[in-house]
Amino acid sequence: MQIVNRSGTSTKQIILIRFIAILAAIVVSSIFIGFLGYNPFTVYQNMLKGSLGSTIRFRATLLEMIPLVVTSLGILIAFKMKFWNIGGEGQILMGAFAASFVALRIDGIPDFLMLPLIFLAGFLMGGLWALIPAYFKARFGANETIMTLMLNYIALQFITYLQFGPWRDPKAMGFPKIANFPDSALLPKLFGIHIGLIISILLVVVVTWFMRNTKKGFEIAVVGESFATARYAGMNVSQVILFAMLLSGGLCGITGVIQTSGVNKTLTMNISSGYGFSAIITTWLSGLKAPMVLLVSFLFAILLQGGSYIQSALQIPQSAADVLQGMILFCILGSEFFVRYKIRFRKKEHPNNGGVSP
């Protein structure tokens, strides 16, 4: 068996590969569901029903989509530069922290200023958190993958410390939680969904425009392609890296703001709930195209929401629902391999097939 580089994959082949991947995902999952003793078709039906079946469920799916979209946009900017930011979790947490600091710890902010201020604070704090690895990358060439990953844990432990320590709400009757946001710091709702939805769609438009039509967006794309080309064209590579990561982390920070102010109404250590990692998948599947982020995030949200619905509807254990999600993702992400390589099988040849000397 041999793995061979595909030198040219036509669009038709790519579509076929993706289609087979989805088919494989359904088949493999069906077998798994069958083993658990359920009818796979009932399960799939329930997943769709649970994510799209009613207005409330549809809203719940959109609520899952919003943080995915915003975080993916942040990750997208970094990935476009081939800066592997896997620190979305930490940046979300730190953005949420800054928003909470403004909402809970600063007195005398007029109501109309509250929301703009918490967004600004969340953006800056998320950005600053991403600037740390960006600085070390630009200055010393440090590995950003390791650094962004490790900063996640620092952020997580920091928020945990706040929740169980200095920021613990004395009025919560011994329960380790941080006080709720004042009403002025809560996102208003429109059609039953907080305006994070509108913000996320606006951000898709802005990021699309930014990457396509601004000098900075152009510079980020060039730096991602080659440092040497960027330097040759007169760009200040370090400055571009720092700027891009401020935006990338900042957008993740905004996710933190939306989740605290729109969903949880307070800061908790679970605020990021894995969006920083899931967004890596959605960003990658979007092909680093901002408009596609919206579609991919929506489909991913169906998977998340449908997965949690079948838990309650069919009493499928949560771990089984997670395995299901994992298998679907495995097939789809795994198909990317076949877009780039093909596997060649060959019969074992007899050792005496072909002489050594005449």
Binding site: G8, N213, K215, A228, Y232
Partner: protein, 513 residues
């Protein structure tokens, strides 16, 4: 000629995606012959030999080695069949000695029976009359010595069929002669050698037979002694080509660039540029010759502000530009264009289209935060039409273009900026003959407009014909600067090997200046 046939390839086809790299290729190599594979870039030479050496397998067609039909499924299998490939980029471990490198590939317990094995290497060396210091470390070796280690390595493994991929690209003319001597010895002792090249005079000098490939097909196989350079070129290109470069006269203008005692450090503090001084005038082409890696890249990059200068000055129209960043150089209105060696890694962005690649150099001069692609689009159209660039459209990512067209995009963009200094590093590398002569014409056109051109080249014949003056580098030092009419190719070779110009005899420098 009734010598046994070592390699027989019949109707070989190989397709990559939609590209048909090889179509019905026939090749037969016999014992005791040096067989040249000649063809332009993309003609399918590498694909073909990669199928002999087990890297690819053909889609259809048959290969017979020593008369037996085989399916070569891996490089290891190829070695077992007595096929040895010597790649352009050597695969040697720097910190080990020659003997250790040769024994590394040995199966079984490594390096255990070194004495016995070394004895075996010596026997091989004796047989093929090769000379080498087996205990010398690779890192202390010159390029040609490393190449010999590679050759010895495959011979030691029992190779009877040797394939060399563009072996002379990294050698001086003198080293090339030595290599050819070794190859002749090999075939005398019963080996067969396949040599890939696109240098016609080398084909004439070394090969017994030559197979010409064009666009993935084998055009014909000729006895070298029955052909000539003109015929080979026509077969290779598919139409008659005028191979002479007529140096156009141009008024040598004012002093444009003056480099004084320039030094620069490379990795590990090695001096890659050592006290370089030269002048470049308007309306002249100054050629730079030297073995690859003699400091050519660093000269270009220090002048363009991309490589740190240790000491010395670079005066552009009298102004010292040492220490300025590329952007500062642009901002000062210094009109300098640099065509780097690494086109897709430095000069252009491979995944972007022509429009965005035009934008690369001019976006910074646009007002506001957004980029305006209108001018870039116009420029892309202009460059495409002027240089006759073959592309599906200006919106196609340039990595999908052929090498020659990619180079034209880069050159076209830089020329369109109307520079007064044009620095070109290996501008025809990887280009076919037609495209190369196109580029030479473009450079001469620039020269006639009064542009000063610094031309880093590798083909000495071209350097002699195209350039007004030639500067020769060896190990980061200038070994000579001379009028190109006043030196022969051999003279350049001696300078490239480190001889000083004052030590050259009159035979190689017809008119000393």
């Amino acid at each position: 000629m009734n010598r046994p046939v070592y390699v027989e390839m019949k109707n070989i086809c190989k397709t990559f995606g939609v590209i048909r790299a090889n179509r019905n290729i026939n090749l037969s190599v016999t014992e005791g012959e040096i067989h040249a594979l000649l063809g332009e870039n993309g003609a399918g030479k590498s694909t073909l030999v990669n199928m002999i050496s087990g890297i690819y397998t053909p889609d259809s067609g048959s290969i017979a080695i020593h008369g037996k039909p085989v399916r070569i499924h891996s490089p290891r299998h190829a070695i077992e069949l007595g096929i040895g490939m010597i790649h352009q980029h050597f695969k040697l471990v720097d910190v080990l000695s020659a003997a250790e490198n040769i024994l590394l590939a040995e199966e079984g317990p490594p390096l255990l029976f070194r004495k016995k094995a070394t004895e075996k290497i010596r026997k091989v060396m004796e047989k093929y009359e090769m000379e080498m210091d087996l205990s010398k470390k690779i890192e202390e070796m010159a390029v040609s010595e490393k190449q010999n280690v590679e050759i010895l390595k495959v011979l030691y493994r029992g190779a009877k069929i040797l394939i060399l991929d563009e072996p002379t690209a990294v050698l001086t003319p003198q080293e090339t002669d030595k290599l050819f001597g070794i190859l002749r010895n090999l075939v005398k002792k019963g080996c067969a050698v396949i040599i890939i090249t696109h240098k016609l005079n080398e084909v004439m000098a070394i090969s017994d037979r030559v197979t010409v490939l064009r666009q993935g097909e084998s055009v014909c196989t000729l006895e070298t002694k029955n052909t000539n350079i003109r015929q080979l070129t026509e077969l290779m290109v598919g139409k008659p080509v005028d191979l002479s470069i007529v140096r156009c006269p141009a008024e040598k203008g004012k002093l444009l660039l003056s480099v004084h005692h320039l030094s620069a450090l490379g990795e590990h503090g090695v001096r890659v540029l050592d006290d370089i001084s030269f002048d470049l005038y308007e309306g002249e082409i100054l050629g730079v010759a030297g073995v690859a890696g003699s400091g050519q890249k660093e000269i270009c990059e220090t002048i363009s502000g991309l490589y740190p200068v240790e000491k010395g000055e670079i005066l552009f129209q009298g102004e010292n530009i040492v220490g300025l960043t590329p952007r500062e150089i642009i901002k000062r209105g210094i009109s300098m264009s640099f065509i780097p060696e690494d086109r897709l890694g430095m000069g252009l962005v491979a995944s972007m289209d022509m429009i965005d690649n035009m934008l690369l150099k001019e976006y910074v001069n646009q007002p506001g935060v957004s980029v305006d692609r209108r001018f870039a689009r116009e420029k892309a159209v202009r460059v495409r039409d002027r240089l006759d660039i073959q592309t599906p459209g200006i919106g196609t990512p340039i990595r999908k273009l052929s090498g020659g067209n990619i180079q034209k995009v880069l050159l076209g963009r830089e020329i369109d900026a109307k520079p007064s200094l044009l620095i070109t590093a290996y501008p025809v590398r990887g280009l076919d003959i037609g495209a190369s002569y196109n580029i030479y014409d473009l450079l001469q056109e620039q020269k006639q407009k009064g542009v000063g051109v610094l031309y880093i080249g590798e083909d000495l014949d071209v350097l002699l014909e195209l350039c007004d003056r030639i500067m020769v580098l060896c190990n980061g030092k200038v070994t000579g600067i001379t009028d190109s009419r006043c030196i022969t190719k051999e003279g350049l070779g001696l300078l490239m090997a480190g001889e000083s110009i004052t030590a050259l005899t009159e035979e190689v420098t017809p008119c000393k200046l």
